[in-house]
Structure formats: C-alpha cells, structure tokens
Symmetry: C2
Subunit: 178 residues, 2 copies
C-alpha cells in the first residue's frame, strides 16, 4: 500500500497513537488503513466412500489437487462461502454438514475453514479455476500432489475420524516448513 | 474506497473479467482491490464458576459488556489473537482451551471466533479499551447490557453446555434483527 484509498495522498507506515503495530497512515487525511487476515472457506464433498477433489487451473500450485475452496466474500456467512466456492470450482451442489476444521496459516495471513458436506448429485465438473474434478476413494488420494497443507491436514483428520467411526471438530495451525 | 492504494489514481466499481462481483478496479494500473470479511477473536476466561467480562470504553456499544475480543492481525494465529486481545483488553493472562464458537455476522462482514480459556491468575484490570473488567457468576451476567449478539450467543452456549456437563463446538450465524 502506497497511497490512501480515501483521498489518494501518499501513506506512511507508522504506529498510530494508542496502537502498538505499524499501520499505513495517510499523510494528508490521517486515515489509518488496517490490513487483516483473509479467510479461505471450502468443504469436503462426500459421495459414498469418495470425496470430490479439484485440480487447480490457477496459480499458486497450478496442476495440484485441492478441496473446493476460496476466499470468503463480504456479505456472506462461512457456510454460504463454502457452498458457493464448491459450486464455482466444481460445479457441484452440496448439503453442508458440520464445520470440520479451522486452521490458521499465519505466515500467509490466512485462516482456512472446511465443512464436511454431502454431494447432492453427480452432475459436477471443472469450473473456471479447475482443470479437472473427480471423486476419489481414500486409496487414490494424490497425497504427493495436494496443493496446500491445510488441505492435506483436513483430509488426514477426515480419514482418521472416519476410521475411528466418529467425526469431531479440529482447530490448529499450519506453520512454515523450517 | 476512492483511490488506488498501489498508484493513487481513481478507482471504479466494476465487475472484472472472469469475476461475478463488482470490485474496486484502478482506472490507471488496473489493480483489483478486493475487500474481505474480518475476524474478531476472543475468549471466555474462566475462574472457578465465574467468567471475565469487560465493559467497553470505545464505540460501538460504549459502556456495554463484552468478552475480551478484537480484530485478528496479520501474522498471528487465531489462538494468538485470542490471547493477545485478552491481555490488551483485560490485562489478563489465559491458557486457551478448545475453540468454542465460530459465528458469521454477514451484515457487518465479520466472523467472530471464541475459545474457552482458563484465567491464570487474578491480576487483571481494564486495558485502554475497557472501562471495567470483572469476574461474574452466571446469575450476575448483565444480559440486557451485552454489547454484541455474538457475545450473548457464545455465553448462552457456554452456560447450556456447562449445565449439560460437557462442552462442544458451535458454529452458526447472527442475522440482522428484522
């Protein structure tokens, strides 16, 4: 951020009075421009013993596999974001079940949230941001080609809970690889 | 948003190619400026049968009661945000327990997340954004003077679960009052 989005004057990074972190503050109108983490919301669409995965048609991680997910928009609920992203990326309609994972990814300023979901029909296919969409059984999950660690973490919790016979909620964090 | 934060030129609200929502797009450099929901993170600090409430010293809802909470910052986890806000607003140190509620508030573009937490000692007091901080038993919760519905909803889940003898995770949404 270099310019004030309110008045167009240059901004300076400094700690405002009463604050304890540097913010972009307008040199002209004194507006303080906060920047906050963004939420990435998606789901695990289930059909019998399989889950729906999408192969990414966009960067980052072009060509790798993910669960349908994307940035939450203003004006929607977390659940609405999960259903919308599933429709956009996999052209799939789902009935959401419980919220399943909430994972902080502090080094990229994101929080990822996934629901379990029931795929309503088999009329799905790649949206604009997907190369391919397919239902895979556990044995065919491409673990070495998963796009993000929040996805592999969510899938691991999913299969572990399924094996244990009961799903529970999981929160945690994904830290940078050292 | 009126000006581009990258180059300072005016922005126009329009639907970018391949998108389906209007965004602020720079007339000069074509940068697209997305605006996303913000997260408000806090906790329920427990001490024996009481919980720690803060009386707000800032707008909105000046003078009303809340759980310690505030906007999540870039670079931190949800759990770190909860502990930081509790230290800032109530000068209180906590050991976080489970994530307890995730509540969407779509009409204000926010998601509120609360943990249960154990207050570590009785050395607490009002931070800069609080008029007062106190430990209250259930019978003394000022239900008619709670600042936000996410707070009253979280407290209601807390007392219902405590009465039932077992705490579980709750997600949901707070819609506008009709």
């Amino acid at each position: 951020m270099k310019f004030c989005s309110d008045c167009g004057a240059p901004v300076t990074l400094k700690v405002p009075p009463g604050d304890n972190l540097p913010r972009h503050v307008c040199d002209a109108c004194s507006a303080i421009h906060y920047v906050n983490p963004r939420m990435v919301i998606g789901c695990i669409p289930e059909w019998e013993d399989r889950v729906l995965l999408c192969r990414r048609a966009i960067e980052p991680r072009y060509g790798l596999w993910t669960l349908p997910a994307g940035f939450m928009e203003n004006g929607e609920t977390v659940a609405q974001a999960a259903a919308r992203e599933t429709l956009e990326e996999a052209r799939a309609r789902v009935e959401l079940a419980e919220m399943f994972t909430v994972l902080s990814v502090p080094h990229v300023n994101q929080v990822h949230i996934f629901y379990r979901a029931r795929l309503l029909d088999l009329d799905f296919g790649p949206g604009a941001e997907s190369l391919d969409v397919k239902l895979v059984p556990e044995a065919e999950v491409p673990w070495q080609e998963i796009a993000f660690r929040t996805i592999s973490t969510t899938l691991r919790h999913y299969y572990a809970d399924r094996k244990a016979g009961s799903f529970s909620f999981h929160s945690g964090e994904i830290l940078p690889v050292r």
